[in-house]
Symmetry: C2
Subunit: 383 residues, 2 copies
């Protein structure tokens, strides 16, 4: 029965695929969800089984707003929250409701590779903008705005996937100002924002929702469990109307009322907070360990920053290095990663690689770094 | 706290809104879901919390295929099933992945009014086809096919919403033959198919999935609970690939892995079967009672068929009757319904009205019929 598939990705035994961006089995909160489900389903209120309120269960949004207010350190209003069945569906719906095939959008280079697939499905024309160690370069954005009129810019401001950088507070403000001046939307993928375990992160772009140009995507996939398919969009109510009044929502009601009612219990019972603290402690430890192991096993020519949040380390090999060849050698060594070109339509990051800490525990991460070191060594010997 | 919204539609106290198409609170299976959740979440398998397999949890699809095979009386293959987060999302994704703005589609006249909203959101050009007591008129379809090339036809073959008719077996076969010959898809909304409590229903169009032109939409909204947002598309694997390989699925994984794992328990424990039997018995009773009460309280000029399945009675007043005026009088009497024009872009059903049995229990349905009778009487006296 081993061939009956349940999970999207089954890790082959023996392989340490550092390319993974999903939590490992030990971090999936089964007991927590059992407790939350038992709590919610014993309350005697069947309304969570009815067609849900289009914007999302009011009590859940109040619980989520309170949780986010505490986490963000700034007030989040439940009226600015629209409940989605995951950030990917949120992004898909933004494309479906706010754009038309042929429209121009801006993205960072590199960017989340699977967002690019969603944009392609909607026939959007993607223009790439460069980043540096402080995220999106605003001057480059201004230049492109002189020549193009994007519907939106898709940005990952905190613990960027894959580049792991944080957009500075100053740039966040400039970005929002530009969006107002040039009349484009900011689609901020902030799913890693709550996963800071050391870094001082500026306020999320969701904090600018009141300005009316920001759609901030949040998700329980990174702080609770991906299989729940539960997330949110934080935006001005006028923007949320577009979702709430769409044909899809009019027909089916809220996107995930049953699961959101259960997660409401997880928040109200304090279980979500506890779990997030556990995740941050675990990831902090893993990130330090992987960084140390990479410094030990990789040549100094391979550069990377030590992130204090999120899932990813972004390796920058010397330009001209053939990452595909290194990946092939790595696979022979039972280790893998995401090659840079996956995150870009261009060639500017072909010498880079994304490693993640979410799936494997510390000893495996260390072993992975060691195996990767050997593959790199082999590659360098051969050229 | 009464203003905090949870459900999509809160029935105002006192009003008997026969226009509703949702199950009433007493039919929402809270205890069943409590049992199913406790069962599934105590198995020690956290994989239901991971990103789910794109086509849908394999064990769930096997359980669903077995359930459908028994219910349909014909073999359903799990490889033909794609798990959705509800039929509305299924329909939205069909529009997003199989059509482009400006494309032509065919619908029945009348048709499910909220499907029309989804089509409008996707910029589709809708052409309406007439029906009779055996559903879609095939000759009318053939005529339109001579002049137009639709991407798909949207049809509700069993217990039509709103017209309550059943597409005959012969017409089903002709429709499938035409779809192959003229190269268009059939989007069959079969969410009421399992709700037969007397009528002999021909095989669902899903049974023709092997032909490669049928996408059959199914849903747990009508047989378990709408708030679960869980449904399926039955189609040939080559068609399902379009969903499975889309950017949305690639990014977020399966559309509702957590809930489908719980519902798998509901099926495997026999709870889904029991609940469906309970629903059919309840609805059969209500439908008979509402029919009898309408015959008692409405003038004979108002015609309708007594359905043996589904949710709806379709009233046909004399042509020229102003249904909007009757609705206004009805509302003064604390009763309501869906006026025919909601289900059509045309004027052919402006003298019709949809009444539903899903929300209210028998005494309220009878009271509703009585109040409606008084409103009609008042209207007739005034003209």
């Amino acid at each position: 029965m081993a061939e009956i598939k349940v999970a999207q990705i089954d890790m082959p035994p023996g392989l340490i695929d550092l390319g993974s961006g999903q939590p490992g089995p030990a971090l999936l909160p089964l007991a927590l969800m059992e407790k939350a489900a038992a709590h919610r389903l014993s309350q005697g209120d069947p309304s969570l089984l009815a067609y849900g309120y289009e914007q999302g269960d009011g009590y859940f949004r109040i619980a989520l707003a309170k949780f986010l207010s505490e986490q963000y350190g700034l007030p989040v209003d439940a009226r600015q929250l629209f409940v989605t069945a995951g950030a990917s569906l949120g992004l898909h719906l933004i494309c479906a409701l706010f754009s038309r095939p042929g429209d121009i959008i801006f993205v960072e280079d590199p960017t989340y590779f699977l967002a690019l697939r969603i944009f392609a499905d909607h026939g959007l024309k993607v223009i790439r903008l460069p980043m540096d160690e402080n995220g999106l370069i605003i001057e480059a954005l201004e230049e492109k705005l002189a020549a193009h009129k994007p519907v939106f810019i898709y940005t990952i401001p905190s613990f960027h996937n894959p580049a792991s950088v944080i957009l500075s507070a100053e740039r966040r403000e400039k970005l929002v100002r530009l969006s107002r001046g040039h009349d484009f939307l900011i689609v901020a993928d902030e799913v890693y924002h709550l996963l800071s375990y050391g870094a001082a992160v500026p306020s999320p772009l969701g904090g600018f929702a009141g300005d009316g140009t920001v759609l901030s995507l949040g998700s329980f996939s990174k702080i609770l469990a991906p299989g729940l398919r539960l997330g949110w969009v934080q935006a001005a109510p006028a923007l949320l109307e577009r979702f709430v009044k769409s044909g899809l929502l009019d027909s089916g009601g809220g996107l995930n009322p049953f699961t959101s009612a259960l997660v409401r219990s997880a928040i109200e019972l304090g279980l979500q907070h506890e779990h997030l603290e556990h995740l941050k402690k675990t990831y902090a430890h893993r990130m330090l360990a992987l960084g140390a192991a990479l410094r030990q096993h990789l040549p100094v020519s391979v550069r990377f920053d030590q992130p204090e949040g999120g899932f990813f380390i972004w390796l920058r090999f010397a330009r001209g290095v053939d990452i595909k060849k290194i990946l092939a050698l790595a696979r022979q060594n039972d280790v893998a990663f995401q090659p840079g070109e996956n995150f870009s339509g261009g060639r500017g990051v072909n010498h880079c690689a994304r490693l993640g800490i979410s799936y494997f525990e510390t000893p495996q991460l260390e072993e992975g770094a060691k195996r990767l070191g050997r593959a790199v060594e082999k590659y360098l010997e051969a050229i």
